[in-house]
C-alpha cells in the first residue's frame, strides 16, 4: 500500500447469507456511499455445511467486475469452522488494508457462481471508512 496512513473507527458488518444461491448471485453487505471508500482489514466467514465446487468465496467491492479484497478458499469453509480473512493459508489478499474506489460498497460473492454445499454463510467483516 502507499506510504500513507488511514486512521478510523473500526466498523463491522455481520450477518448471514441464507443460501449458496445468494452467495453465487452476490450479496451487498455494506452499501455504497458516494463520498466514502471502504478499507477491509479483517473478519471471518463461516459456512454451515462445507462449501464446495467454487474455488473461493470472495469479499469484494461492488464494481461490475468486482475488485477482490480477500478470497477465502472453499477448503477453508468446512462445516461450522470460522475461516479468518487473515488465516495463514487458504486466503489471498488483493485490495486488503487499502482503500477501495470511492463510491463502491462491499459484497460477498463466490468466485465463479458455482458454489455448492453451503446452506448458510455467516460473515463478520471488519472495515474502515474514508
Amino acid at each position: 500500500m502507499a506510504n500513507t496512513e488511514c486512521k478510523s473507527r473500526l466498523r463491522c458488518a455481520c450477518g448471514t447469507i441464507a443460501s449458496a444461491a445468494l452467495v453465487n448471485a452476490g450479496v451487498i453487505i455494506v452499501p455504497p456511499i458516494s463520498s466514502r471508500s471502504y478499507i477491509v482489514v479483517g473478519g471471518w466467514l463461516k459456512s454451515t455445511t462445507s462449501a464446495a465446487t467454487s474455488t473461493s468465496v470472495d469479499v469484494t467491492d461492488t464494481t461490475g467486475t468486482e475488485v477482490i479484497n480477500a478470497a477465502v478458499a472453499v477448503g477453508n469453509l468446512t462445516d461450522g469452522a470460522v475461516a479468518p480473512l487473515t488465516a495463514s493459508s487458504g486466503v489471498s489478499w488483493t485490495t486488503f488494508g487499502t482503500a477501495n474506489t470511492k463510491g463502491k460498497g462491499l459484497k460477498i460473492i463466490s468466485d465463479d457462481g458455482g458454489l455448492t454445499g453451503t446452506t448458510a454463510l455467516d460473515y463478520c467483516i471488519e472495515y474502515m471508512t474514508l
Binding site: 506510504n3 473507527r9 478499507i39 479468518p84 495463514s88 474502515m128
Partner: protein, 134 residues
C-alpha cells in the same frame, strides 16, 4: 492485563506502510498522547521480498527502551504473506490487550542483532483502543 479488570472502549484502526528504512529507524504510527494505547489486534506483511536480517519486526511503544506490544518473527514475513497478531506461531504478544504506559505513542521497528533487510516495505494494520487518564 490486571486480573478481573474490564475495559470497554471503541476500537479504532490504523493501516499504513513503512519503508525498510523507516522500520529500521523506527516509524511512529500513533502519536503520543496523555492517555494509554491498548493493542487488541492487527496484522503485518512484508512486500516485494522476504524480510530477513533482523529477528523480528515489532509494534512497540515510544519509550527510549521500547516496550514491545507484538513481535512478528522475520521468518514468517515472507513477501506478501499476511501475519495476524493472533496467529498461533511466529508471533510474541507481550503488552497485548493491556495498556502501555500513559503518554507514549506506538511505533514499528525492527529488533535483533542484525538489521532488517530484504523487504522493500511493510504494510501494517493495528487495531487498538485508548484509555484516557485524568
Amino acid at each position: 492485563m490486571a486480573a478481573n479488570t474490564t475495559r470497554r472502549s471503541r476500537v479504532k484502526c490504523i493501516t499504513g506502510n513503512a519503508t525498510l528504512a523507516e522500520v529500521k529507524a523506527g516509524k511512529i504510527i500513533l502519536p503520543k498522547f496523555s492517555g494509554q494505547y491498548i493493542i487488541v489486534g492487527g496484522w503485518m506483511r512484508a512486500l516485494a521480498v522476504n524480510a530477513a536480517g533482523a529477528d523480528s519486526i515489532n509494534i512497540s511503544d515510544t519509550t527510549a527502551t521500547p516496550v514491545v506490544g507484538v513481535a512478528i518473527a522475520v521468518g514468517a514475513l515472507t513477501a506478501g504473506a499476511l501475519v495476524d497478531f493472533d496467529a498461533a506461531a511466529n508471533v510474541t504478544r507481550t503488552t497485548y490487550g493491556a495498556a502501555f504506559a500513559a503518554g507514549k505513542g506506538l511505533q514499528i521497528l525492527d529488533a535483533g542483532a542484525g538489521a532488517l533487510s530484504g523487504c522493500t516495505s511493510v504494510d501494517f494494520c493495528i487495531k487498538y483502543t485508548t484509555v484516557n487518564t485524568a
